[in-house]
């Protein structure tokens, strides 16, 4: 009997052949007075009541995934923005800029007056404590004073272009008066754009603080950066090399005076002497350069006539840019972590699928054994 005939009989259609009649009677017999559950079971099932559950927990896994994935994405984005906001608010340069601008907006800073603070100098008292030295003096190793490389940069706002050239001249005068000089001066005053002056000054290390104070007083201090690097160790190393080379030269010269030297040995010693002489000259030149670095501080001064309203806008814009930049960096970090997790997990997915297939096949085999025996 075909499956269609059997289905027709099950639907109650009349039988046509003897075989179909037999099957139909069998079906009727099976359906006659089927077993019914006991009253106990009926009562038990009637008492079952669904419990109230949170709507989210009662969702099917697929629906939960549809809800959870956007939530997780929104949480990641929100975290990145909050991180960007927090990170952008604590920028030290931005805080200094804001403090200086607010101070200048309230009372203004007269030219030549000391600016609010020069905190970096307060952190480097050893620079202030150096005794006065001239260019020719070399710091004594036993004096207890350390040689340092001092590099600073300032950005000062001048009210208008007319005062820019005057401020530039005053800056070079400050350098001369303090025993230094202007290594380079560049002045720009393009039409329709803020004027700027770029100065490279060399100031004796002992007068650096005075120079910074006076230069900052030329206008409104916008930014300041100071770097102090110890050169004493380098100087001592170079001095030791000079001493060693001098001793080597002395010994070689003494050895050359020996009349019993063979021509080959004499030539060898002569070459060694020449080499030591060249090395000594190099070391002394380097030492001299190190001393010069420690004697004069390098100051980079930028004078600009950029307007304060633009600056304020730039500050907010910079903060927004910092916030967005920080948020994007955080998102990049999150994406990197997610990518690493995917890279680690992806090779395991086929294994997991295979394992599930094996488990499923085993269950089916087990089921066949249970039900077909």
């Amino acid at each position: 009997m075909s499956a269609a005939d059997l289905s027709a009989l099950l639907r109650g259609e009349p039988a046509r052949t003897d075989e179909e009649r037999r099957v139909a009677s069998l079906i009727d017999a099976l359906r006659a007075d089927p077993p019914g559950p006991s009253a106990t079971l009926r009562a038990h099932v009637r008492e079952l009541r669904p419990q109230k559950r949170h709507r989210l927990l009662s969702l099917a896994p697929r629906r939960l995934a549809v809800v959870a994935v956007p939530l997780l994405a929104a949480a990641a984005l929100g975290t990145a923005l909050v991180h960007g906001l927090i990170d952008s608010g604590g920028h030290p340069v931005a805080q200094k800029e804001f403090q200086h601008r607010s101070a200048s907006a309230v009372g203004g800073q007269p030219a030549g007056a000391p600016t609010a603070t020069v905190p970096t100098f307060q952190k480097a008292p050893s620079v202030l404590g150096l005794p006065a030295r001239s260019m020719g003096d070399v710091p004594s190793l036993s004096s207890g004073v350390r040689l340092r490389r001092f590099v600073a940069s300032l950005r000062v706002r001048i009210p208008d272009v007319n005062r820019l050239s005057k401020a530039t001249s005053m800056a070079t005068q400050v350098a001369r008066l303090l025993g230094g000089y202007a290594a380079s001066v560049e002045y720009r005053n393009p039409a329709g754009r803020p004027g700027q002056a770029f100065l490279e000054l060399r100031i004796p290390i002992d007068h650096v603080q005075a120079a910074l104070t006076r230069l900052a007083g030329l206008g409104t201090l916008l930014a300041q950066q100071v770097s102090v690097q110890d050169l004493q160790a380098q100087l001592e190393r170079q001095a030791a090399q000079v001493v060693q080379l001098r001793e080597e030269i002395t010994l070689t010269q003494k050895a050359l005076q020996d009349p019993s030297l063979s021509p080959v040995d004499r030539i060898r010693l002569q070459l060694k002497l020449n080499e030591a002489g060249r090395a000594l000259a190099q070391r002394m030149h380097a030492r001299k350069h190190t001393v010069a670095e420690g004697m004069l501080a390098r100051l980079s001064l930028v004078l600009t006539t950029q307007k304060p309203a633009v600056q304020a806008g730039i500050h907010h814009e910079r903060r927004l840019n910092r916030m967005l930049g920080s948020a994007v960096s955080f998102l990049e970090l999150e994406s990197t972590i997610l990518l690493y997790a995917l890279v680690v997990i992806t090779p395991l997915i086929p294994l997991a699928v295979l394992a599930c297939a094996l488990v499923s096949a085993r269950r089916r085999r087990d089921e066949r054994r249970l039900l077909h025996t």
Binding site: M1, A3, A4, D5, L6, S7, A8, L10, R11, G12, E13, R16, R22, V23, L26, I27, D28, A29, L30, R31, A32, D33, P34, P35, G36, P37, S38, T40, L41, R42, H44, V45, R46, L48, R49, P50, R53, S58, L59, A60, R364, D366, E367, R368, L370, L371, H372, T373
Partner: protein, 203 residues
């Protein structure tokens, strides 16, 4: 010709639309109405349970061959169904199909437990089959009862689903986890074996 014209395959997602037979179970289910009602009203579980209790119980009786075991398993089936009631999607399957699927898993767990118990005790719990007192239905003749007992649980369950519970081919196949074709083949073999067993019993 008339039979062939009527041999139209059932729709892929048809529910158990049947013609009530005398003494049989009326298993008419309207998916649209029930589906909408199920989705809206959590308390409809009680209605569904009340309506499907007999069908699930009969299925378990035929599957396990033991009425007392079927009672226990039916109770467990509805408890499990209650816990997963909110995840039930009436668009994917009819309530009877869904409940029979749960009942089957519960029964399989019972079969596994029985097998472990037998291995521990190294004896069969019921002398290699159902007890002689097992009665699938009071309305069945003794030869039919004995013939049913001679079938394997897999053969009895397909008979229960298609004949007694009157599930259509796709729904029964869904419960069994096999294709509709395999389900039809299994039913056909089961009925043939049933006939043969009845013939042997009579002779």
């Amino acid at each position: 010709m008339a039979r062939e014209a009527r041999r139209q395959p059932a729709p892929a997602k048809s529910l158990a639309v049947t013609i009530p037979r005398p003494g049989g179970v009326s298993g008419f289910v309207n998916a649209t109405t029930v589906g909408a009602r199920l989705a809206a009203d959590p308390s409809s579980f009680a209605e569904v349970a009340e309506r499907q209790l007999e069908a699930v119980y009969r299925y378990l009786v035929y599957l396990t061959g033991d009425r007392s075991v079927a009672e226990d398993l039916a109770a467990e089936t509805f408890e499990k169904a209650l816990r997963s009631w909110r995840r039930f999607d009436p668009r994917r399957a009819a309530p009877r199909t869904w409940l029979c699927g749960i009942a089957r898993n519960v029964a399989l767990d019972w079969f596994r437990a029985e097998r472990r118990r037998r291995r521990r005790e190294e004896t069969y719990a019921r002398d290699g089959g159902e007890s002689a007192e097992t009665v699938f239905s009071e309305g069945l003749s003794p030869p039919l009862e004995r013939a049913l007992r001679a079938l394997s649980p897999a053969e009895r369950e397909v008979v229960a689903l298609r004949v007694v519970l009157e599930l259509d081919g796709p729904s029964a196949a869904r419960v069994l986890g096999i294709s509709a074709t395999a389900c039809s083949t299994r039913l056909s073999r089961a009925l043939t074996k049933l006939e043969k067993e009845m013939g042997d019993v009579r002779s």
